[in-house]
Symmetry: C2
Subunit: 204 residues, 2 copies
């Protein structure tokens, strides 16, 4: 695959090396399901670089589980066992954040979401991971459970070389403006239009 | 994550179970780079189901390597060692297809591409894999190295429960029409627009 052509000469005063290694804020939005899938695909690349991967799924249900979770846990074990790739942490809101003493409240998703963001903010402050996937994170922003301005402030001013990938529909404008890369998935044709139901291995 | 709502009652005469397990032909096209990344993300889900994964990259250079390749090879080894997940094969045109006695010709990409497709057609005929990722496959179609009508015929009439995911820009219309799911990635904002060059762990 050819590398993309640079279309503009930058005037940011950075060296090529600094620019090459600039940490990215990535937003995957739009109506199609490829958003999370593509985010996890990006995380695969980071894993291969030996980077620490932190996945935080802002899903309401503890039962929701995508195949990527097992695959990444397996890759985390490969790292522990052989040193290949990077370490992996995978956290889900719906089952109660694993660092929390309490189980998911199930009744106060807003509080659970705020707790998730507080932990992520703490980790960003200590540069705990090199890649963060904040999956379905646009929803608590949209619903006002987490303050968009604070999120943008923390992300824009994050230290070091931390890449952050955020997925979900209806990304807030302030987040889109702050992002380095925004991908929108567009539905051209989907089997559910023809009555196809979601199926194992494809939709989850 | 909620499962999508079915918007149309199908009139295809299939039972719900038959319909639920229908093999899919998926095309990821458009101008953004998420195409392949999302395809590999889908393959992760298949791996987790214990399905045999076959990746065929129609890239010209032997040197081109994405992080996903190492991650999937690691997952293939997890399967061999523990039985978790499914087996993985990863083949690249640029380095000479691994089943071929000859090295990549480097001078006749059209012949290499045709050889790759002949092998995929053979494997589809014997149901060798459950998931096929034909990465960057639209290019040999576009350039006339492989006959689009033959590809569509083989894919539409493939036996069993084989999912096929094809990536690349400018997918031929006949392929889009035959597909069950078409995802188009749209560039909203990309760091290369601001002079950012591709970087390790992100672009490959």
């Amino acid at each position: 695959m050819p590398q993309g052509q640079v279309s503009v000469t930058p005037t940011d005063g950075l060296t090529t090396r600094q620019r090459r290694n600039r940490p990215l804020l990535v937003v995957h939005t739009g109506v199609m399901k490829g958003k999370s899938t593509a985010a996890f695909g990006m995380a695969l690349r980071g894993w291969n670089q030996g980077w620490s991967i932190g996945v935080f799924q802002f899903v309401k249900s503890a039962k929701w589980k995508v195949g990527e979770e097992e695959a990444f846990r397996a890759l985390g074990e490969v790292h522990s066992r052989t040193g290949q790739g990077g370490p992996v942490e995978w956290h889900k809101m719906g089952s109660g954040w694993s660092w929390s003493r309490k189980a998911g409240t199930e009744t106060d998703h807003a509080a659970d979401a705020a707790e998730g963001w507080a932990e992520i903010r703490r980790r960003i402050g200590t540069e705990a991971h090199r890649v963060y996937v904040l999956d379905e994170f646009t929803y608590p922003l949209k619903w006002g459970w987490i303050d968009v301005d604070e999120v943008v402030d923390v992300l824009v001013n994050r230290p070091g070389q931390q890449h952050v990938i955020i997925t979900g529909r209806d990304a807030p404008q302030a987040l889109v403006e702050a992002a380095d890369l925004v991908m929108e998935t567009t539905k051209v044709k989907h089997p559910m239009d023809a009555g196809q139901k979601g199926q194992r291995g494809i939709e989850w």
